[in-house]
């Protein structure tokens, strides 16, 4: 499977504390975004105003110096970060959008990214009369993190056990059993695919499709074995693998999965890594599974589809309580769209199995694609809503 080559977008090191800047259920249509500018130079951090009304505020930060700079909006104690923009190259501008409750804050810049920040200036937010949510949700986020890390460990452990059984059947020449184990075992991978992809080499070693190969590259992993297990679907002239090839592929499959298992023992997930993980899993569905591109020979794409959705649902469930406090409407919308997608998947169940992708009618495929889009749009608001 095509790897997402960027690391999962990480919130800042103190991102957990930035939740006070989240977007609330703004029902007042008149609350306009106050727009401020910040000029960050070598020795000054000039904000266009020292005061603004509560609600949505936008700071357009321009780096007029010649070092990389940062802008921080701090709480009154000068320590807690309420909002920030990092990594602004010389000459560039970037916007910080926050929602602020009435109170006293401080603005500061860090040209060269060192030290405590220069030109710390008081910034006052007056009461505009608009409602602003100000919840301290650290504990909830930590619970979500712990739970998700445990889920990942558990899925990968099941993946490892399942892979060992699959490899045994494949090597023993018991192709029927191997074929029966293929999709259900892969489901454990697909549920946590975005986490696995963050480990660079493991994803191409385990999940590369034939089309993704470079000329001369060794092809290993699930799909290399898939082709051998469903030779009737392969191109004319495809030769079954030799016992040596089978041995090699099966061994590597197990070894690489063991490596993955080691790597997931000690993970930590920030809030934005969780929300972006859910978004990433839905992107997997939108680009590969809904088109039948993933399981080229076995056509077991719907198993993968369900597994990706399972993973997204777990991530969503972990942050749902936080979301309800920030934006209950979005939570309702996501609940509805997840349910609608699950209904479509349930309609394709055949006992413990799913309809093969090639047996879906064009109308059924279109219904899936439409619903993936219907879920994707609101789901992609999740990070911005929860992590500002």
């Amino acid at each position: 499977m095509r790897a997402r080559l960027l690391p999962l977008v990480a919130a800042s090191a103190v991102g957990l504390l930035a939740l006070t800047g989240c977007v609330a259920n703004a029902t007042d249509a008149d609350s306009a975004n106050a727009a401020l500018t910040v000029d960050s130079s070598a020795d000054a951090c000039t904000v266009s105003a020292a005061e603004a009304p509560s609600g949505n505020l936008s700071f357009a930060v321009t780096n007029s110096g010649d070092q990389v700079t940062e802008f921080y909006l701090l709480a009154e104690d000068g320590l807690r970060i309420v909002g920030e923009v990092e990594n602004i190259g010389p000459g560039l501008s970037r916007d910080l959008v926050v929602q602020l409750a009435p109170g006293n804050y401080l603005t500061t810049c860090k040209p060269g990214m060192v030290g405590d920040g220069i030109d710390k200036t008081a910034f006052t937010v007056t009461d505009s009369g608009d409602e602003v949510v100000d919840a301290d949700l650290d504990a909830q986020v930590e619970v979500a993190n712990t739970n998700y890390a445990a889920y990942v460990r558990d899925q990968v452990a099941q993946l490892l056990t399942g892979t060992q059984a699959f490899a045994d059947a494949y090597l023993a020449g018991d192709d029927d059993t191997a074929r029966a184990l293929y999709a259900p075992t892969r489901a454990h991978w697909e549920r946590v695919e975005t986490v696995a992809e963050s480990f660079g080499d493991l994803d191409p070693q385990l999940d590369l499709r034939e089309a993704d190969l470079e000329e001369g590259q060794d092809w290993t992993g699930w799909h290399a074995i898939e082709k051998d297990l469903w030779p009737a679907e392969a191109e004319a002239g495809f030769a079954a693998y030799t016992p040596e090839q089978r041995q090699n592929l099966a061994d590597l499959l197990v070894t690489d999965t063991e490596t993955l298992n080691d790597k997931v023992q000690d993970l930590d997930f920030t809030l934005s890594q969780q929300t972006n993980g859910a978004i990433g899993l839905l992107d997997e569905v939108a680009t590969g599974k809904v088109t039948g591109e993933e399981e080229f020979w076995s056509h077991t794409d719907l198993w993968d589809f369900q597994a990706n959705i399972d993973g997204a649902k777990v991530l969503y469930a972990g942050v749902r309580d936080i979301l309800i406090e920030e934006d209950a409407d979005l939570a309702t919308e996501l609940d509805t769209e997840f349910a609608a997608l699950q209904e479509l998947l349930d309609a394709q169940r055949v006992g413990e199995d799913f309809t093969l992708y090639t047996d879906l009618t064009p109308a059924e495929v279109k219904a899936f694609a439409d619903q993936v889009n219907a879920l994707g749009e609101p789901l992609n608001q999740l990070t911005a809503t929860l992590v500002l």
């Binding site: 095509r2 997402r4 080559l5 960027l6 977008v9 780096n63 990389v68 940062e70 990092e86 990594n87 190259g89 010389p90 000459g91 560039l92 501008s93 970037r94 990214m113 089309a211 993704d212 190969l213 470079e214 000329e215 590259q217 978004i279 992107d283 939108a286 680009t287 809904v290 088109t291 064009p362 495929v365 279109k366 694609a369 439409d370 889009n373 994707g376 749009e377 992609n380 990070t383 911005a384």
Partner: protein, 460 residues
């Protein structure tokens, strides 16, 4: 590289129409026209006119075909500018360092079974005559769209009547299969003349090439600022080719995604980002000589002063891109979206600084960012001239727009493209959002000489 636009001031001049009383046999002499319009020593062959002439006369030479620019001025008071005109007969074919026009119509052709070497030469001659006329803003044929015998089909299809030249350029290329088919057949006695570099591009990781959108014996790139003019060019050349070659696949492009001159504002591709900032520009003739034009000792003599054209149809999965955060979009590209400046700072044309680090010592321009992986400093100094176009061709059965970039590049050797593309295909963060679905490579011969035809040295 003499692509200086010059307004065409020629009015319609009359050549000497042949005697209309009998079908003329084909001769190789045309009638030289007065005025500044480019002329060929011959007109369309009789075969070239086969589809064009009816019971009437098979005319020869560039006769009284209407000069569209003049007609336009005469017919419409609103038309005050004839637009740029790029002469067809030049040292290098136009449409390469020519300032990129706004519209594209590109077609790959396969030579029809039964076409002989002589037929192929005649086709290229006919195409040359027609291309020279159209790029000068004139109709194809002796009588053009509306001035011919009443019982004959018009020689020019007519939809460009009244339209100015609109900067039309027509560029021709030869594919590997022209020299030798995949089965090794040398249809035209050209196999020994094939440049060693002219072989199909290798498979790149992630390619999803469709056979029906790839390859081709011949290609024609028509670019203009008016879409109707670009379409008219391909359509008429295709018509002229009937019986000798047929369109294999074609592509319309509606917005340029490159600048080939510093006088041009950088346009945006369908990701919403500026595209073509760091490109070989017409104002750098030394760069063109080093990176663009085939040198006289690079390969067979017939290609010296020509180039190689790579065409790649790149589908963008814009629905997932559009749902992606601005942060990720900028991280993937390596530039900011509004200004097009590299994330290391400056303005659009500031050189990227790939070392400059931000928080946690991570480079401001991500290691997998597109601008880094494509940059000459990361590819042994390789530079190519990009001249691509946006496309949106309807939608697929899943309700997604079939949208993307029809990538075209010109370079001295296909190896330049291959090296950079391999780097991108392996590492580019942008791969998440694109699929290469079509691919073709063509050798673009040097410019044709007046009195001769495009690619003539190949057959000499």
């Amino acid at each position: 590289m003499n692509d200086s636009p010059a307004p065409d001031s020629t009015g319609a001049t009359a050549g000497t129409p042949p005697d209309g009383s009998a079908l003329e046999s084909t001769t190789r002499e045309g009638t030289a026209r007065e005025g500044t319009a480019p002329t060929a020593a011959r007109g369309l062959s009789r075969r070239g006119l086969f589809g064009l002439a009816g019971a009437g006369v098979a005319g020869l030479g560039l006769g009284i075909a209407g000069d569209r620019a003049a007609l336009a001025v005469a017919a419409s008071s609103a038309q005050t500018s004839a637009g740029a005109v790029y002469p067809f007969f030049q040292k290098h074919q136009a449409g390469i360092v020519t300032p990129a026009q706004d519209r594209l119509h590109f077609a790959a052709f396969d030579v029809t079974d039964g076409t002989s070497r002589a037929d192929l030469i005649e086709l290229l001659q006919d195409w040359t005559v027609a291309a020279a006329a159209m790029t000068a803003g004139q109709d194809v044929g002796d009588y053009g769209s509306v001035s011919g015998p009443y019982d004959a089909p018009p020689e020019d299809t007519g939809e460009a009547l009244g339209l100015p030249p609109a900067g039309l350029t027509i560029t021709f290329g030869f594919g590997p299969s022209l020299f030798q088919t995949a089965e090794g057949v040398d249809r035209f006695g050209l196999a020994a003349r094939r440049p060693a570099d002219l072989v199909d591009l290798p498979h790149f990781p992630g390619d999803m090439l469709e056979e029906t959108r790839s390859g081709g014996d011949l290609c024609i790139q028509a670019c203009a600022d008016d879409p109707q003019v670009a379409v008219h060019a391909i359509r008429n050349l295709s018509r002229i080719a009937f019986g000798r070659a047929a369109i294999r696949w074609s592509q319309l492009g509606f917005g340029r995604t490159s600048s080939t001159s510093t006088s041009q504002v950088t346009p945006r591709n369908l990701f919403g980002f500026k595209d073509g900032t760091a490109n070989i520009k017409a104002e750098e003739p030394a760069a063109a000589t080093e990176h663009l034009w085939v040198g006289s000792s690079d390969g067979p003599a017939w290609l010296a002063g020509g180039s190689y054209l790579v065409a790649r149809r790149i589908r963008m999965t814009i629905e997932t891109w559009d749902r992606t955060s601005l942060r990720e979009q900028e991280t993937v590209i390596g530039r900011n979206k509004g200004e097009g400046a590299p994330l290391s700072g400056g303005t659009e044309f500031t050189e990227p600084d790939f070392e400059l680090a931000g928080r946690a010592d991570q480079p401001l321009i991500d290691t997998a960012a597109h601008v880094r992986l494509a940059h000459p400093t990361q590819n042994d100094g390789i530079r190519i001239l990009r001249r691509g176009y946006n496309f949106v061709d309807g939608n697929d059965s899943l309700g997604r727009l079939d949208a993307g970039l029809f990538f075209i590049s010109f370079q001295r050797s296909p190896e330049s493209f291959t090296a950079v593309q391999l780097n991108l295909a392996r590492h580019d963060a942008l791969n998440e959002y694109i699929r290469h679905v079509g691919s073709a490579l063509f050798a673009v011969p040097p410019g044709a000489a007046k009195g001769s035809y495009v690619g003539a040295p190949l057959f000499a």
